[in-house]
Each structure stands twice: as C-alpha cells, then as structure tokens.
Symmetry: C2
Subunit: 147 residues, 2 copies
C-alpha cells in the first residue's frame, strides 16, 4: 500500500536526517511499524521480527521504538495493565472512536477539538502539547443489529 511506503520512507528519512545508522534490524522494525494497522506492542514487533531476524533482541526493539518515538515518527499508546502499544502509521495524536462490539476504529475529524484546547488553555493556563482522546461506544451497524 502506498501509505505504508510513504510512512516507511518518512521514518527512514528522519533517521538519515539525524545521522542514525540504517541497520537491517532497524529497517525491519520500521517496516513492521509502517505496515501494522493494529497498534503492535514491542512484544508483537519482536515476534514478527523473528521471521527475518531469528535471535533479534527485544532490547533492540525497545531501543529502536524509543528512538523512532523521539523523532516523532511513532505514536505511543498506553493502556493500564498491558504493555505499551505503538502506531507508526499515524504518528501524530488523533482522536479515535472505538466500537466496543465490533472493535471497528474510526478517526473522526472533530471541529470541537480546537475549541476544547482553547478552553483548557483559558481555564487552566496549561500549554497543551499533546493529548489522547479515545471514545468508546457502539457504531451505527451494531446499534441496529441488536436494537
């Protein structure tokens, strides 16, 4: 998919730009991040890596994901009680709407987000740097199914 290739290239370019070496392991991790839509954990990435790099160290995956995150090319998604997940396809914060029945995820374009950030700045004096915004509910399809 074109999108995956674009993300792959963007990540490689960012690495080059910051004079990081392009090791095969690193490139393989980037490939997995750019192709995975399911927000893989370090363990997921490591497991998929074994195919091409048997014996690759999990520490290497941690180090590289951390590096890529520091370059702003992957979004970290932490849930309580489980290991951290990563989104390398859309590295910038964005809201999600998740259907709790069919697990479908959509990325809405919320006009009210900008307004909300303004409200926060005004009310609390915080300078908003980033956010995470996930709504969980029942999608139209699932609502009609068991109405």
């Amino acid at each position: 998919m074109q999108e995956s290739r674009d993300r792959y290239k963007a990540m490689v370019d960012k690495l080059k730009e910051h004079n990081h070496k392009l090791t095969p392991q690193r490139l393989a991790i980037i490939r997995i991040l750019s192709e995975s839509k399911e927000h893989p954990s370090v363990e997921d990435i490591s497991r998929r890596l074994q195919r091409d790099f048997p014996g690759v160290s999990e520490a290497t995956v941690y180090r590289n994901v951390l590096l890529i995150k520091s370059l702003g090319e992957v979004l970290e998604i932490g849930f309580a009680g489980e290991s951290t997940h990563y989104d390398g396809r859309k590295p910038h914060p964005h809201p999600h709407i998740v259907c709790i029945k069919c697990r479908k995820i959509i990325d809405p374009d919320l006009q009210s987000l900008k307004e909300m950030v303004e409200e926060i700045t005004e009310e609390s004096g915080f300078e908003v740097v980033t956010y995470r915004l996930d709504f969980f509910g029942i999608c139209p399809g699932c609502r009609t199914m068991n109405a």
Copy 2:
C-alpha cells in the same frame, strides 16, 4: 471535606454490600483514595500508608485497589512508561490535564465535552458509552520556571 467523607462512605458501603471485610488496612486505603486529589499510584498509597501501618505490604494495596476497582469505585488511569494511577474521588470517566514536567494531574470542567460527544453522535452515529480524554502539557508553574 464533605466530598471526601461521601466518597469514603460510598466505598465502605459498596464493600459491605458485597460482603467484603472491613480491615484496618482496607479502610486506610479507602481513606487515602477518598482524600487524594493527586491520583496516587499504588506506590504513593503504600508510602502514605506506612505512617499508620508500618510494614503494610504493597501487595495488599494492589489487591485492595483491584477490589475497589472491580466494584466500580475507583478510576484506573494508565500512562505509558509509568505505574498506573487511581482516582477514588471521581470514579467515573472524566478528562485529565497532565503536566509533562511535574506530572501534576488536574481535572478540568470542560463545557466543550458535551458538545464533542454531540458532534461524534451526529457525525458518526456512534452511541458514546465511555471515553478517555487526557491532555498533556505544561502547567502554569512549570511554564514560568523555565520561561
């Protein structure tokens, strides 16, 4: 504060209702949860507990927080890269603003949240059941410190 006492009572009642025993340790953990505005971690709770219960086990805190969570009386707040925090004062979902410097967490009252839920319902047809909404930024104090 009245609010703290109400929360304390609500948690105790819920325990009684489900036939859980009211041990001193358990009551002390509930007291801390009901009084803490800063969303303490298990470690935080455990440290504060030492005052009244020297030698209290961290495992006991874990077990009790888990129990109280299963009764719906505490909100679990997980962030990537650090231990899970808990809010016993507002056990239902609500937005957070987290300072990325001093880690302070505040609970804003956002008028625009209702509007955002409406926007989601209108635009996507989702029936919003729950959410998690966390903004990360720099609080006024930390902004002035290194301005």
